[in-house]
Symmetry: C2
Subunit: 432 residues, 2 copies
């Protein structure tokens, strides 16, 4: 069992062991009854989150909804303590309360969360201009801190991820579904081809990958495109797994996995690629990342960054940022430009694959659910509730347009070795 998995479980245990499931004193008083103030609070909460088509089911089974709203699902609140906690900090506490079962959703979880995102979008829309000026997340993702943050999520245990990610390359990032009926394995393969084609990989080229996960893309690039790859990652368990895979398949000569921070990348490469790392870098480090790329990319080099993003600078959902991905912050495009503009990189192509992440998450959630009895036995109820909420919440965020998925292709300013159109990406497409 990885250390983070036990961290999530012990966080959940703390929650169940504190007062919320064993209310006493003021909190317990009248917990069986629902008073006028409770009802007023629930209505206020519904108003504040923009009146989604949902009802609240209180601890006495009383149902409260906004007038003239036909609810799609019911949110059960099991105690007054849970209600108060939810009101105090809905963004953080909804997740915590859901994890331990103090709050539940009766109905489809992902689509209830989409309803909430849409409703919140309407409310936030009103104060859009003032929100826009609030400062972006300030993290200090120093190399040491980064190692802890990455360890938190990615070292849960390779066996666990293996059961619900694609079998071929264990890609824990958005797949590419040029045909929506593709399997997850086909779509992850199509994603890797799409990236390699954008980068115009040629046999014999050298590639550096920043944040290589379980090493699937590096291996794929070497095998399918004949390049040699140096792939960096600070997750010990992932690097271990990747090295084992490369050795077992006979690619250790051409693919080197390096357990180190992207800030320590050294060398001179034809291609820079980074898939799903930028979310963990922190906006304040983007200019430094640009310098790293500038130092390691050849004169005619190309680069691609694939990242979750936002339509405008915004904080990540507090629960995800606290419980799931400490230190994470998906950037808006203006924020991403802090990487490229100071070094005068030339952006060639930006593609938004938002709905592809919806499809990817549907596959992940469905595979997670296929294994749910086993997880329940091994890790307990809180763990599976936490993970289901995280996957369903992400699905809802991409469905509702709250999150984006950007692939940004770039080169140096003087490089005129460019294609006349992007048509070559779509010949024999999808290239599975």
């Amino acid at each position: 069992m990885g250390k983070t998995q036990s961290h999530i479980i012990s966080s959940a245990r703390e929650l169940t062991q504190n007062k919320q499931l064993k209310p006493s004193g003021f909190w317990a008083l009248g917990s069986g009854n629902v008073n006028e103030f409770d009802r007023w609070l629930v209505r206020k909460l519904l108003d504040n989150i923009g009146k989604p088509p949902l009802s609240f089911l209180l601890w006495n089974n009383e149902e409260i909804t906004s007038p003239d709203i036909k609810p799609h699902a019911r949110i059960r609140i099991r105690s007054r303590y849970a209600l108060y906690k939810l009101l105090l900090n809905p963004e953080l506490n909804f997740g915590d309360l859901y994890s331990v079962g103090s709050v539940d959703v009766e109905g489809d979880l992902p689509s209830s969360l989409v309803d909430i995102y849409h409703a919140l979008g309407r409310v936030n829309g009103k104060s859009l201009l003032s929100n826009f000026t609030r400062p972006a997340f300030q993290h200090l993702n120093s190399p040491d801190k980064a190692r802890g943050n990455i360890h938190h999520h990615y070292d849960i245990g390779n066996v666990f991820y293996k059961q619900w990610l694609d079998r071929d390359a264990m890609q824990y990032t958005c797949a590419y579904f040029p045909g929506p009926a593709m399997t997850l394995e086909q779509a992850q393969t199509a994603k890797m081809h799409h990236i390699c084609r954008k980068l115009r990989l040629q046999p014999g080229q050298t590639v550096v990958e920043a944040g290589c996960g379980w090493g699937g893309l590096a291996l794929f690039m070497a095998r399918e495109y004949g390049v040699s790859v140096k792939a960096y990652n600070i997750s010990h368990e992932q690097i271990d797994y990747a090295r084992h895979q490369a050795a077992a398949t006979g690619w250790s000569q051409q693919v080197e996995y390096i357990e180190d921070d992207y800030r320590n990348i050294k060398g001179d490469f034809d291609v820079f690629v980074s898939i799903g790392m930028l979310e963990h870098v922190g906006i304040e480090n983007y200019q430094q990342l640009g310098a790293v790329i500038d130092n390691c990319l050849k004169e005619q080099g190309r680069g691609l960054i694939h990242t979750i993003g936002r339509n405008r600078p915004a904080l990540l959902n507090a629960w995800i940022a606290t419980r799931i991905f400490p230190g994470a912050c998906p950037p808006s495009l203006s924020q991403m430009m802090h990487i490229f503009e100071p070094r005068e990189f030339s952006i060639l192509d930006i593609e938004n694959l938002r709905l592809h992440y919806v499809k990817t998450l549907e596959h992940w959630l469905s595979r997670f659910d296929q294994n749910i009895e086993q997880y329940r036995k091994s890790y307990g109820e809180e763990f599976i509730r936490t993970w289901r909420l995280y996957l369903a919440g992400s699905l809802a965020a991409f469905t509702s347009g709250n999150m984006q998925l950007f692939q940004v292709l770039f080169t140096r300013p003087h490089n005129n070795d460019l294609d006349w159109s992007r048509a070559y990406l779509y010949q024999n497409h999808p290239p599975v």
Copy 2:
């Protein structure tokens, strides 16, 4: 003859009539001889612009070049006055001196300018980070000021532009050459199809165009895609021409040309499109432009902005900004995001067509040169030198990577009616 044409000509006359071609006093002293100080200044100038592979040919026919540089071309400086003026403000005065013939280029003009851009890129690269922080252009493109600025360039006379732009649609913006051997007419048609396909135009839809030039795209959209278009422009001569064309071809019912500022756009449209207007809007007005789009775009609407851009925020070449396009400022992508992020528009696709502008400018320059004897007779030598320098300088700016051409496709955040891939853009491609 349009008023701007006469403005350019009279600017040129002022220059020829002032002291530079009739040096007297200090300036005249020793104009025939070249002294050590003159030579030192020329070497300093070569150093300052990054030692391009060019030599300077002074007024006594003495040639000066940087050591170990093999010159591709010679820049002739006809007087000490011209040399001093060039040193004082090379960016602005090179153009002015070239226009009146006080400076000349012996060799290929576009490729000499590419050499200068490359050399300047090397010099600026050294102080890249400090340059990055300098403030962007501050223009006050109020509606009245904007009208004057646009009038300056676009009302020179339709006949003049007609002779070197594409014959079919008079597009004074970058064409699209999916095959580089296309004619200018084919490439401008391909550009319009590419834009219409990105926007997924459907018969019966309503389109608003901000800054419609001579109206070619609006007419094309109505004719080829069955949409109705309201097209805005503040250039009186262009609107006049466009209305005449629509009437003559029987499309006045479906295409309405409105002589007004984009800030006065009213209505509710399926599509917003703007080709080559953003360069004139001014960064400080981008948030207002975003509000205009937000107010006129339907819930499932799409928009596209096609604009000259930069890899990072930078001032436009001083001569172009003063003599050719007053008030113009091509944005970097981070600057463009001021339009989209405050209103939470979702960027779907950004394509950089930089090399397509090189091809477009090659065609324009070649057609300009085909008519050059006629222009010389009608408008005089200064006028043709000014225009050739402007076209060749633009060609050099795009060739050297100093300027970019961005097409930015966007929609509202909740719009899930999106294609699974961009492959549909490349079916039967190019769609000529």
